[in-house]
Symmetry: C2
Subunit: 331 residues, 2 copies
């Protein structure tokens, strides 16, 4: 039986940064750069809601960190570090914790976002994680969500829908489309659900060229409506659906089962960045993203309009019942 102090000393102190003070104090210590703001985000994940309890522990840890890093990327901020709240179910063995900490430490190192502190508690109801990530940007320059304007173009990084389709594969592995999918496409989609790819490499381009941005976590179409509405009422997105970037694997799935397009556009867990930009900034934005290893694609505009418009390949408007995925605690 290992106590909390030993657990921290053995598995978490080795992945802590200097601000973590060896995880031996009541608090972490950060010395902000002069002239810089702090950008702080917190995402909680619960077994059975945000991941499967039997996912590999290292992948659970990476996902928890990465969904927070995605928020920092969307704000054009550079990561400084994170704190971890870890609720462990009774009977968690030390090998599980070691694997969890290993995955977490590798991601933290690779993304220059060290562990600064946290809390480990017993959680009889199942595994829960809560990460607070802290980033920084020059004072007054954080990329906001509600600063888009009519006429700005909308772009999105990477590809959309992969994680939502990966989740569908986990939930209904025996569906016809799932069985018809190539092994390569299946593996790609499953991996994208398990491990988001936060776009921190694009933070500088977003910071330099975006008029507004947010990370896409609850479904592209609903998040686009949210980005517009957070600027003001009467602003709405107009999106050409054929312009939404899909991976080869997602295209294969949609070709087998066209109704999956809806899941891809509204399903959530993308952890890509939705970016608004003035028309004169778009070329530089797209070039910056491509140069940083993750292309972005223009998918529409922000318009003076009471309602969003989603346009299909024939130029017709498409209606969606639910625009986004919302975790609801009553269900």
């Amino acid at each position: 039986m290992i106590g909390e102090d030993d657990l921290i000393a053995r598995h978490f102190a080795p992945i802590a940064g200097p601000g973590g003070l060896g995880l031996l104090d009541d608090a972490a210590l950060l010395s902000p750069l002069p002239g810089h703001d702090l950008v702080i985000t917190k995402d909680a994940l619960v077994a059975g809601v945000h991941f499967f309890a039997d996912d590999p522990p290292g992948a659970i840890a990476r996902k928890a960190l990465r969904v927070n890093l995605s928020d920092l990327a969307a704000k054009g901020a550079e990561p400084l570090g994170f704190l971890l709240g870890l609720g462990l179910p009774p009977g968690t063995d030390e090998a599980w914790i070691a694997a969890f900490a290993k995955g977490l430490g590798e991601d933290a190192k690779e993304r220059a976002c060290p562990l600064l502190g946290g809390d480990t508690v017993r959680s009889p109801g199942g595994l829960t994680l809560s990460i607070t990530a802290i980033g920084t940007c020059e004072a007054g320059t954080m990329t906001r969500r509600g600063t888009g304007r009519a006429g700005h173009l909308l772009a999105v990084t990477g590809t959309i829908g992969d994680a939502a389709l990966g989740l569908r594969l986990r939930l209904e592995p025996e569906a016809e489309w799932a069985k018809a999918l190539s092994p390569k496409a299946r593996a790609f989609l499953l991996d994208r659900y398990l491990l988001p790819r936060p776009r921190n490499a694009l933070a500088a381009s977003i910071h330099a060229h975006a008029s507004a941005a947010m990370d896409v976590s609850d479904g592209l179409l609903g998040d686009a409506v949210k980005l517009a509405a957070s600027a003001r009422r009467g602003l709405a997105p107009r999106i050409a659906l054929q312009g939404v970037p899909l991976s080869e694997a997602a295209r294969e799935a949609v070709a087998i089962e066209p109704s999956l397009m809806r899941a891809a556009l509204t399903g959530g867990d993308d952890y890509e960045i939705l970016i608004a930009a003035e028309p004169g900034e778009v070329d530089a934005l797209l070039a910056g993203c491509a140069a940083s290893g993750c292309p972005a694609h223009v998918i529409g505009t922000l318009e003076e309009s009471a309602a969003p418009e989603f346009i299909d390949a024939d130029g017709k408007g498409v209606r969606f019942g639910a625009l986004k995925f919302e975790h609801d605690w009553k269900s």
Copy 2:
């Protein structure tokens, strides 16, 4: 049925500070004071482990915030704000959430520690909370845990053991001592378990006069050993047990059942501050604490010693089986 966005807009946005950006963005924004460090702490609480699921929702919220504020107080830091990770069990009704947010908002206002952001998720396994609190102090001056030295005096704020005895009253209300206790003492102890009193009013005195400090959350005696050991091996506390400040209610309980003294000294949940101070600083420390409305009392010293010493009223050493309360996730 209320969705996450509406819930945040109705109940949490009204208690957010300016840095929370209306809780409408991906992240919170903090502009640190020039020449100041940030002090960051995170404590998680789980229903059935750290509080009772049927505690009043406002009290659960206050406790979650207060245990974090206690860490900031121990570091001599002034609160700037906090983020809340809230895992709600299925079926949580809006009245519960409203009461939770009301208690949280009142505490946040009273203690000048506004809500900055967070995340609300569904938690099928029961209510979980994770708060990250952020404080500040002049650069390089955070009161550390591991900076006590041999010959420094140990003091503790407030009174010790009240919350531990309050928890015992919750767990064994029909015990002989519980039934013999006066209604006033019972109410006092129960309240101290339900609602910690973090000593943020003492932060300036601690900052000015302590050589080291930590908050007492896992039991006074074990935490004193921890404070000493975090400086280095071979440093240990020597504590005169009769000097440990007890409330009138705790003295009444111990008079009825002397064995409760052990629970008071090792039981945890005190959320008082254990302070080490150079002998020349002690008078000013005690005067500052008293002037700020919460007296501190000298209870011992830090000594060059391989083992702690706990001395009773007759000058004899007392041995304790377990020095502290540790939440263990294997039990």
